[in-house]
Every structure is written in structure tokens, then in C-alpha cells.
């Protein structure tokens, strides 16, 4: 599904990713962990196609396509979804309206007919249950006045509606209290299936108590320095990151 080879990327003149390799198969959940500044968010943003990140070397292959060649919206059409670390507020733009535009943009790309208002409402009614989304949030402006937890829930709600093939969750656990973390995690778990791959970018192990990854990778100084199973995350929780850095050095 996703194959990253020797990826180098910089912001301005600062190199952040320095030869990252990662391979994700369909249906797998990968956790990317690492200390602050290791390049976790940069990886998420490069995969989603955000401006300001300069890929200087390496390749990213997604479903046989060169992902880096695609514009951000084309990546979205192809099934790449990024749950933002800091979802933005868009005043005056209705939450449902944005989502409907997004769904129909994707459907159009796939040659499907666009959903009308009734069909769309039917679709989201179902999906709202997944993250226990409050109805009044639907008709508010996108993320405007949402609490931190509501914003993250909204991200997962959008993910459930858009049904991506590759979902990248950038620090979705940050700023969540334990109840919100549970709800969001349950939402993500319910979206796991054999075709959908998920990359969890996180600083803490606690998210992985709720979402069991198939693989755990440690990112440090722009490279993956250690990979393993779920146990690796526990080990990290216990020992911190330093021992791996030493081991890798």
C-alpha cells in the first residue's frame, strides 16, 4: 500500500527527515513514536502534501503511484486522510457543508454520482454514532468554538465519513482527557479493516493501550531507528527514548 524509501525532507534549510524507510501493508496499523522534534509531524505533513516541506531525496509509493507527484486534494481523492494535530477553525463554513463538499469531491473523482442533501444526511447519521458526535456540532462552523476533544472527535468523524484507505493520525491523542481518548480510540478501532491502513503518529504510549498497533517504529533525528511489535511501545514507556538512541548510535 505504502512504501517509503530513503525519504529526505527539509523545512527551509533545515533537514528534518534524513533517510526514512517505511513499508505499510493494507490492513496494518503502524505506530510511529519518537521524541519531540524527531520528524513525526513532518512525515505526516509530507505524506499529505502540505506546502513548505521540501522533499530532497527518496520516494513514496502509494498503491503503485508516486504519491509525491500528487496535489494534496488528489491524494485525498486517492484515499489518503490526515487527522490533524491542530484542526483549524473556519468561521462561517458549516461543518456538514465542508464534509459534504469533501465527500462529493471524492465521489466525483471516483466517477460516482454526488450525494444530495438527504442521502448525505442519511450517511452521516450513521457515522455520528461511531464517535458519539453531538448533533449541534454538525451545524456549527468548522471547529469554531470546539473544545480540544471535540476537534479531535470531529477529525475521526470526518475520517469515518470519508472512508480513506490510508489514514494518518497526527498526535490525535494529544490534549485529550481519558474519556475523550477512549471515544476517539473506539472510533478508530471501529474503522479498522483488512483494506484500511492506519499510521498513528504519537508521542505517548497511552494511545496504544486503546489502539493496538501491528508494528511500532521509533523515529529519531529523521530516521526510523528501531522497529518492533506492540511490546516495543511498552518498553519505550518504561525506559524512555534514550536507550534506543544509544543503541542505534
Amino acid at each position: 500500500m505504502l512504501n517509503i524509501q530513503d525519504l529526505h525532507a527539509k523545512i527551509g534549510n533545515k533537514e528534518i527527515l534524513k533517510g526514512l524507510n517505511l513499508s505499510v501493508n493494507a490492513g496494518e496499523v503502524h505506530a510511529i513514536m519518537g521524541p519531540n522534534g524527531s520528524g513525526k509531524s513532518t512525515l505526516a505533513n509530507v505524506l499529505a502534501g502540505r506546502n513548505g516541506y521540501d522533499v530532497t531525496k527518496g520516494t513514496v509509493e502509494y498503491e503503485g503511484k508516486d504519491l509525491l507527484e500528487l496535489a494534496p486534494e488528489e491524494r485525498a481523492w486517492a484515499g489518503v486522510f490526515l487527522a490533524f494535530q491542530y484542526p483549524v477553525e473556519i468561521p462561517g463554513v458549516n461543518n456538514v457543508y465542508l464534509l459534504k463538499a469533501a465527500v462529493n469531491a471524492v465521489r466525483k473523482y471516483r466517477g460516482q454520482t454526488e450525494l444530495d442533501a438527504v442521502e448525505f444526511l442519511g450517511l452521516i447519521k450513521e457515522k455520528m454514532k461511531i464517535v458519539k458526535m453531538k448533533e449541534d456540532l454538525l451545524n456549527r462552523s468548522v471547529n469554531e468554538g470546539f473544545s480540544g476533544g471535540e476537534k479531535k472527535r470531529n477529525e475521526i468523524f470526518q475520517m469515518s465519513v470519508l472512508e480513506p484507505k490510508l489514514a494518518i493520525l497526527d498526535e490525535t491523542d494529544s490534549g485529550l482527557d481519558i474519556d475523550a481518548l477512549k471515544i476517539v480510540s473506539e472510533g478508530v478501532n471501529s474503522l479498522r479493516n483488512e483494506e484500511r491502513s492506519i499510521i498513528l503518529v504519537t508521542h505517548y504510549q497511552r494511545l496504544l493501550d486503546y489502539i493496538k498497533p501491528d508494528h511500532v517504529h521509533v523515529l529519531s533525528n529523521g530516521k526510523i531507528i528501531k522497529s518492533g511489535g506492540p511490546d516495543l511501545a511498552l518498553e519505550l514507556e518504561e525506559k524512555g527514548y534514550d536507550w534506543i538512541k544509544e543503541e542505534a548510535a
Binding site: 486534494e73 490533524f84 469531491a105
Partner: protein, 482 residues
């Protein structure tokens, strides 16, 4: 945000959609302004003596005045002697009785503008008094309006058919000597719309006029007068486009609204005149005086404007709240792109007791455009318990444009409540990326964000105008994020 260069060029080089010129013989007076020109206009319009005198008085006063320079605008010197002050389509002489008699070229022009009169007859609830250049050529829905006792006709016709009303109200809101451009208009206005809603009548349809400047080098001086008698109600729509021209064209209109006791006037404008090319060449100078007099108790006037066109806009639709409990509203979206400039806002003059006013102004600037909100809220001594709420928001696209706010508040009565809020924001890369990551194209994302920003104003527009306004906004800002 970066878009690839090819795209930007595509978008930017997209011609102004309504930039075409209809080839019609016009009966145009030689450029220049003097008393003879005014007498010529007055004679052409077969006006009574008192109106000629009124014009000449305005002209003589205008001669003593100077171009206003206080606005935050960079205006090239205007040579008023180089402008032709009268132009009428020739077919006027044989006075078309119906659309069939109207010059087909004219009809074609309307077709291009998307306002086919033939079809408009059947459109529910919209009467069109179409102004082509300076003379009105076709008026529809007259019958239905006449049944209700509503007068809706070209200004020149009102002068002939309803002289007592014109004489009574003309200049009663915007006096002939009011300001430089107002005085100029008073001297040389050629036509416009006249509306009278009798006592107790709710106008059975939305009234709408399309203004259009066509003849090259001809200033357009519209005069509109709307009177809502006691307990009456009217909604008036004004929309404009203009063909592409290289030289700047001057437009100095005057709109006067009079609301008597318990009357309500809703005046909506979508203005899309040629803004000039991307280098700031050409484009319309839009210097408009719009003022409403809430003369009667419990009267209400609401101005809603969407200003996307013109090279320079100088416009402050205002309300004089004379009647007790009278209400004034101003909802505005102004968009400036490329080298467009706008200095716009409103004046709310509170005189009566318990008067209230609301001002919602949304300014959007892109590329090199400069825009100012200029507003005055004046609470007179007599205005017990007056209330005002003002909200001015500016949205910037790119880093070379500017937004400026000049709010003036004068409160002479301590019982007044005046609130002012202002924000300036940039259309964020973050917002755009968020939308694009969800699969929405950049252009659509810009549209969505900008429309969201303008939502409070758009909801004040009549439905069909709201749709048009959203479209216009999209066209105006195409490729503006770069």
C-alpha cells in the same frame, strides 16, 4: 500557498466575463461641461423649467467645490471637461412600446448579461426597469405594479407623470449641494429609477434595476429616488456590470430613499463593474452618494451591498434616523483584487428617540488591493436611548494588500449604547490545506472560506441575489491566492 505558475496565469488572464461592447449608434453630446450642456440634457429630457433651474443651481455650486481628498484612495486627476455628459441609444426616439420594438442589439446585451428580458417577464416576482446607458428602454411588470398603486418607472418619466412627487422629494435627502459628486450628479443626471409605494401597500414583488455603462468615455449619472409612504414596504435590487474599456469611466450616482411612518425599505446592491485589468489599467470610478431618510416614526431602512467591481469605489450608504424608534442597517461585503481600491462604509445619524442601527462590514483584499472601512455613528442630543452595533471584519489574501478601518463615533447623548468590534485576519494556508486535504480543490476552498466570512451579509440578500453574489465573489477572487 503556491499554485503552479501555469494555473495562475490561466486564471489571471481570464477575461472579464462581461467585457464586451455592443455596437449601437449612440446619440452622444460632445465632451465638456458648462451651462449649455446642462440645458441640452434638460431639453433632451423635455424637463420643466424648475428642474433645469435646480440643475443649474447645483452646477454653480459644484463649480465652487473641490474633489474630496480625504478618502484613502489614490485617484488620478479627473478631467471633467473630457467627459461626455449625455448618451442615449438612438432607438429612444421611436419610444419602444414593448420588447418587440426594442433594438435587438440591446436585448442581445441583456442576454449576454444573463438577464433576458423576454424570460424575465415570466420570472416570479421581479420587475425590471432596465437602464441602458442613460435612458431606460424597457419596463416590465408595470401592470401588476400599477394595480397595487406602485409607481416604478424611469426617473425622466416620473418627472413628466408625477412632477409633484419628484418636486417634493428630489434633493430632500441628498441636497443638490451636498458633496462634490452629489452636486455633479444633480447638475447632469440623465436617468435612473423612481419608485413610490403608496400608504399601506406592500410592494407585490422585488423591484430590480440593472445599470450598465456602455458608450465609451461617457460618465454615467444615475438618479434614483424611492419613497415609501406610511406603512408601506418595498425591496429594491440593483445590479450592475460594464463592458471592458481602457480608459477610466466615471460613475457618480445619487440614490435617495425616504421612509415615512412605519415604512420599510430594503435596498440591495450587487455591483460588478469592470475593475480594470491586472495592472490597474482601466476600470470604473464608482463615486456614489446613497442616503436614506427614516423620516417617520418606526421606519426602517436596510442597505445591503456586495461590491466586487470598479477600479475605485467611494461609497457610504447612510441612514438618517429622524423618526422615533427608527432602524437603520448596513450590511456590506466589499472585495478588492489586483489594483482595485475601495473606501466604503456608512453613516448612521441618530436623531429620534430609541433609534437603533446595525453595521456589519466585511472587507476582502487580495494582491495589491487597498480597502478602507469608513464609518460614522453619530448620536445627536435628542437621540435618547439610541443603540448602535458595529462589526468590521477584514480578510487579507496575500501580503501586498491592505485593510484599513476608520470608525468615527460622536455621541452627544449619554443614554446611548455604542458597540464597535473589528477584526483583521488572513486567509490561512492552514485553512486552505485543511480543505484540500479533505479533497476540496484550492479554488473551491478559497470560495468556501471567503463565503463563510461573508455569510452574515449574504443572508440579508434576497435569494437570487445571494446566489449571484456568491458566484461573483468566486469570479472576482479567482487565482487570488498565489
Amino acid at each position: 500557498m503556491e499554485i503552479n505558475t501555469e494555473n495562475v496565469e490561466d486564471l489571471v488572464s481570464k477575461d472579464y466575463e462581461h467585457g464586451f461592447v455592443t455596437d449601437i449608434d449612440t446619440d452622444t453630446v460632445a465632451p465638456g461641461l458648462n451651462e449649455e450642456t446642462i440645458a441640452f440634457i434638460s431639453k433632451k429630457k423635455e424637463e420643466p423649467e424648475w428642474l433645469l433651474e435646480w440643475r443649474l443651481k447645483a452646477y454653480r455650486h459644484w463649480l465652487t467645490m473641490e474633489d474630496p481628498t480625504w478618502a484613502h484612495l489614490d485617484i488620478e486627476h479627473i478631467d471633467y471637461q473630457a467627459i461626455s455628459y449625455y448618451s442615449a441609444p438612438k432607438s429612444k426616439d421611436d419610444a419602444p412600446k414593448s420588447l418587440d420594438e426594442v433594438d435587438p442589439k440591446l436585448l442581445e446585451t441583456y442576454e449576454k448579461l444573463g438577464i433576458p428580458l423576454q424570460e424575465q417577464k415570466f420570472l416570479a416576482g421581479v420587475a425590471v426597469d432596465a437602464v441602458f446607458d442613460s435612458v431606460s428602454v424597457a419596463t416590465t411588470f408595470k401592470g401588476k405594479l400599477a394595480d397595487a398603486g406602485v409607481i416604478f418607472c424611469p426617473f425622466s418619466e416620473a418627472v413628466k407623470e408625477h412632477p409633484e412627487l419628484v418636486k417634493k422629494y428630489l434633493g430632500s435627502v441628498v441636497p443638490a449641494a451636498d458633496n462634490f459628486f452629489g452636486a455633479l450628479n444633480s447638475a447632469v443626471f440623465t436617468d435612473g429609477s423612481f419608485v413610490y409605494i403608496p400608504k399601506g401597500v406592500r410592494c407585490p414583488m422585488e423591484l430590480s434595476t440593472y445599470f450598465r455603462i456602455n458608450a465609451s468615455n461617457t460618465g454615467q449619472f444615475e438618479r434614483t429616488l424611492i419613497i415609501a409612504d406610511e406603512k408601506s414596504h418595498v425591496s429594491y435590487l440593483e445590479g450592475c456590470t460594464a463592458p471592458m474599456r481602457d480608459e477610466n469611466q466615471l460613475h457618480a450616482a445619487v440614490v435617495e430613499l425616504v421612509a415615512l411612518e412605519d415604512a420599510e425599505i430594503k435596498y440591495s446592491t450587487v455591483q460588478n463593474w469592470y475593475p480594470g485589468d491586472e495592472n490597474g489599467v482601466g476600470g470604473i470610478y464608482n463615486f456614489v452618494t446613497k442616503r436614506a431618510d427614516c423620516r417617520g416614526n418606526n421606519s426602517k431602512v436596510s442597505w445591503t451591498q456586495v461590491e466586487t467591481g470598479s477600479a475605485i469605489t467611494w461609497k457610504y450608504p447612510s441612514c438618517i434616523l429622524k423618526g422615533d424608534n427608527s432602524v437603520g442597517e448596513f450590511y456590506s461585503v466589499a472585495v478588492t483584487n489586483n489594483h482595485q481600491q475601495a473606501d466604503t462604509g456608512t453613516k448612521m445619524i441618530h436623531i429620534g428617540k430609541n433609534t437603533s442601527s446595525t453595521i456589519i462590514s466585511k472587507g476582502i483584499s487580495a494582491r495589491h488591493a487597498q480597502q478602507s472601512y469608513r464609518g460614522l455613528v453619530k448620536i445627536s442630543k435628542s437621540a435618547e436611548n439610541a443603540r448602535n452595533y458595529t462589526q468590521c471584519d477584514s480578510l487579507l489574501m496575500g501580503d501586498q494588500c491592505g485593510a484599513h478601518t476608520f470608525p468615527y463615533i460622536e455621541a452627544k447623548n449619554s443614554s446611548a449604547t455604542v458597540e464597535h468590534e473589528a477584526t483583521t485576519s488572513k486567509i490561512g494556508d492552514d485553512q486552505l490545506f485543511y480543505c484540500m486535504q479533505r479533497g476540496i480543490k484550492e479554488e473551491d476552498a478559497v470560495n468556501m472560506i471567503v463565503n463563510g466570512f461573508c455569510k452574515e451579509v449574504f443572508k440579508e440578500l434576497p435569494m437570487e441575489f445571494a446566489v449571484e453574489a456568491q458566484k461573483l465573489l468566486g469570479i472576482t477572487l479567482e487565482g487570488a491566492v498565489g
